[in-house]
Amino acid sequence: MMAQAQGNGVNLGTGDIAVLNFAYALEQLEAAFYIRVTSSFYSGASSRERQVLSDIREHEVAHRDFFKRTIGASAIPDLEFNFESVNFRDRQSVLTTARTFEDTGVAAYNGAGQLLRDPNHLLAAGRIVSVEARHAAVLRDLLAPRTAAFAGDDVVDAFGLGAVEPPGKIMQTVAPFIRTPINSAGLPKA
């Protein structure tokens, strides 16, 4: 389990750097997941599914590398992950995990935006979050084709607003998948 708000573990830092490292941790998680998924597809994966998952892998790797470059010397190290709960040979397991990661990513960026002080960082997050939202929509369409699920009422509220979660909640959601303890005490509060 990932340690939170404790004095040990990988320290995200403070201020914008902490927010960027938070995003970097999520992108590391997603990249590692899709690298694993595409290294040996579940049986029966359609050509569309292979294409979608391969494209998403490329995007997540690009996002991960972008944050590593942008954060520079303050970037957290490579994290270790735990995908024991995922059955990579099973379509439903892979796609539902992917959907969870993408929906979580979107809610995370939606919640983290207001914590950033530098407009350039905000724009960087904005360039990424809409791609994550596209991923989420497509994964949802794969799981429930031609339905309202791509932007379902479970992720878009009655005001038409997409889901949003503060970093602390996001950390709890992804904790089972991250082995490396993370100290997120320095994340800014809204």
Binding site: L122, A133, F150, D157, F159
Partner: protein
Amino acid sequence: MNTQIFDSIGNFDAEGNSGTRRAAFQQLAKHGTKLALAAATPLLASCALIGPAIAPDTGLAKQTLAFAILLEELEHAFYVQALAAPGLIPPSDRVVIEQISKHEGAHVTFLNTGLTGIGGSPQPAPQFDFTGGGKYPGVFRNYRTFLEVAQMFEENGVKAYKGQAGNLITSNSLLTAALRIHSVEARHTAEIRHLRGEKSWTGAFDEPATKEQILRATQPFIRKA
């Protein structure tokens, strides 16, 4: 859409006291049958467009909201007309277009409430010409053409919110609301592109556009007063 909910939130924002907040919750409980109160709490927070966190330049915030409202009105009117056009949308895809239309209508209402909340005055929607001045004459007869225009509107929406986010950085509530809408528009465009048989993305990063660029692209769809 439940306008009384928005009225309640507007009162809460303007007065900003707990008594009105309680009243707002009562309104939500009364009218928002599908809305769990737990879910309503972040909604109220997002709707709190008035308060110490408001952008110092309220004029800029008003302009930004008015711009967003125009784009949402354009989209909403577009889908309403499309859904009413006989034989345009195949039955298999209707649920998708209805979901998108529902969101665009909610965005119009939400943003108008927000504009009112920061002292702005919502304006009547302009008249639209969805043929784009004759460029898309079959927009409500030919499904492919409809999807092409829909994709353009959705992509422009994503680019526009992304481009405007920096204008809202000093207001947490406005910024977060805009980001949340931005992510919904991105889900829309992904699905529309899929309905067209296209990939749902163009790459790992989406680029913003300026207000001027978006207005230029939108202008052919707005009738001259």
